[in-house]
Amino acid sequence: MATAVSFRRAGAAVLPALVFGVLFAVGWQVFVRAADVSSFVLPAPSDIWRAAVDAHARILDAAWYTGLNAFVGLLIGVTAGVLLAAVATRVPVLGRTISPLVAGLAAIPIVALAPLLNNMYSPVSTLPRREVVAITAFVPVFINVRRGLSMLSPVHRELMQSFAASGTAVLRTIRIPGALPYFFTGLRLASSLAVIAAVVSEYFGGVTTGLGSRITGSVGASDYPGAWASVLGAVLLGLLFYVSVLIIERAVLGRRAAAVL
């Protein structure tokens, strides 16, 4: 009963976006056909769809490869982000050291990093790509978890002091549960960024099995609908990551989860 209601509610939330998406695709189709735009400038949605259907098995393989890189990198980045944020909160001296470094890390464009990391490893290694993903995913998780853990209202501080509670007890009963919504905000950002990073990291040589490689490969072969079909695959992969995190967030936080997608 409750799930039926929540499904209906989710449907109602998604409907406007869905309608907009369909209208947008129709408008795009009509525009390309009416203005006779050549396919290397902008292929029609119907051409992209045909290319996607034709190559769906290969796109799926490529998505699997890129998705695995994104997933492993995300896992490493999130773990590191949570652990370092905890350390930075518990040991203020380290916090003051780490935080500016993270700010610096956030300013590094993946584009600048990927070719350099590629050079460090064998050309067939997936490691540099996963590292790019990990670094990208680390930043939002670290920043959000750090903020969440350091939020202790004066009332709660004094309350726990009046209970003669230890620092560990404060961490367990207030700081960690209080930081969970922040963690999920960071994780949501990180999950989308992870897919983007995994795709972009493939633009700079190395193994050519992923979605990013397919995009550059198709463009090189003047197969523009094919390139767009791979972009569509990347979009769907990103959505899969984002929605998975959203579902986990709802399951863990229940009513406390943010009401917005």
């Binding site: 209202s153 009332v155 709660h156 004094e158 309350l159 002091q161 009046s162 209970f163 003669a164 509670a165 007890a169 009963t173 207030i174 549960p177 209080g178 969970l180 009513r255 406390r256």
Partner: protein, 272 residues
């Protein structure tokens, strides 16, 4: 009988970047067991600081503080008092019952005892129907009831309350005052109650401690003899007589500048 709280020669000086501020000076006060005492005074008179000194949340610069014949620190570690704040300070992700259980959980009381005690306390504050609700689903007054139940969890002999009804509307506030009188009587706990409201202080207390600011001192201690409190108490002439007494005590210790300002306002009104 030994007193619940005894303060002698207590002062508190805060050292700030630019010089220091004397928040409390020369405080001597004894509060008997089961006695209800309100601290009242203008902002900056140190009433909240005094409450925190009793609670060992702040350490006094000089003087001694004893709670239950122990040092304030020992009393805090032994959970001899419960504390409530202006904000209820509940944990939103816990149910009402789990919020009340929090101190018991922190002190290693086992699950079934915790649960039984929480239900008993929620019955005392009249929230039996809301045990599994989350705090955000409750009104401000109900949240304060949960906070009071939580403060009573360890059956303390002393309840320290820092403007707990300050954020409530007038009607809820009076109802909470009625409840608090009953709860204090039922538990037999002594209460130290910080407030800005003169009628609230008079209605609740056996004694009203009037404080003056800069530095915070006890200006006057006014005994309130109104007998058993009920709905008629708030209408009685005796109630208003004590209110007037407290108001005059507060006015007597206004700073000169404030008195001047008041006179100025009166003159301005006259001119109109």
């Amino acid at each position: 009988m030994t007193p619940a709280v005894s303060l002698s020669g207590v002062s508190k000086t805060f050292t700030l970047r630019r010089g220091s501020v004397v928040a409390l000076e020369d405080i001597d006060l004894t509060i008997e067991r089961g006695e209800f005492v309100s601290l009242i005074g203008p902002s900056g008179c140190g009433k909240s600081t005094l409450l925190r000194v009793i609670a060992d949340l702040l350490v006094p610069t000089t003087g001694t503080v004893e709670v239950n014949e122990k040092s304030a620190r020992k009393a805090r570690l032994d959970q001899d008092y419960g504390f409530t704040f202006q904000q209820a300070g509940l944990l939103d992700w816990r149910t009402v019952r789990a919020n009340v259980e929090l101190p018991l959980e922190l002190h290693g009381v086992d699950r079934s005892k915790r649960r039984a005690r929480a239900l008993e306390l929620l019955d005392l504050v009249g929230l039996t129907d809301f045990t599994d609700h989350r705090p955000p689903q409750l009104s401000g007054g109900m949240q304060q009831r949960v906070a009071i139940a939580r403060a009573l969890a360890e059956s303390p002999a002393l309840l320290l309350m820092d403007e707990p009804f300050g954020a409530l509307d007038e009607m809820t506030r009076e109802r909470m005052q009625d409840e608090l009188v009953r709860i204090a009587a039922e538990t037999g706990a002594a209460v130290v109650f910080v407030t800005h409201s003169i009628p609230e202080a008079v209605f609740l207390s056996h004694r009203v401690v009037v404080m003056s600011p800069r530095p915070g001192r006890i200006a006057d201690v006014i005994p309130v003899e109104l007998g058993k409190r009920n709905a008629d108490t708030r209408e009685s002439p005796a109630f208003y007589a004590v209110i007037t007494q407290v108001r005059e005590a507060l006015r007597g210790h206004q700073t000169t500048s404030a008195a001047d300002r008041a006179a100025e306002i009166d003159r301005a009104k006259g001119a109109l």
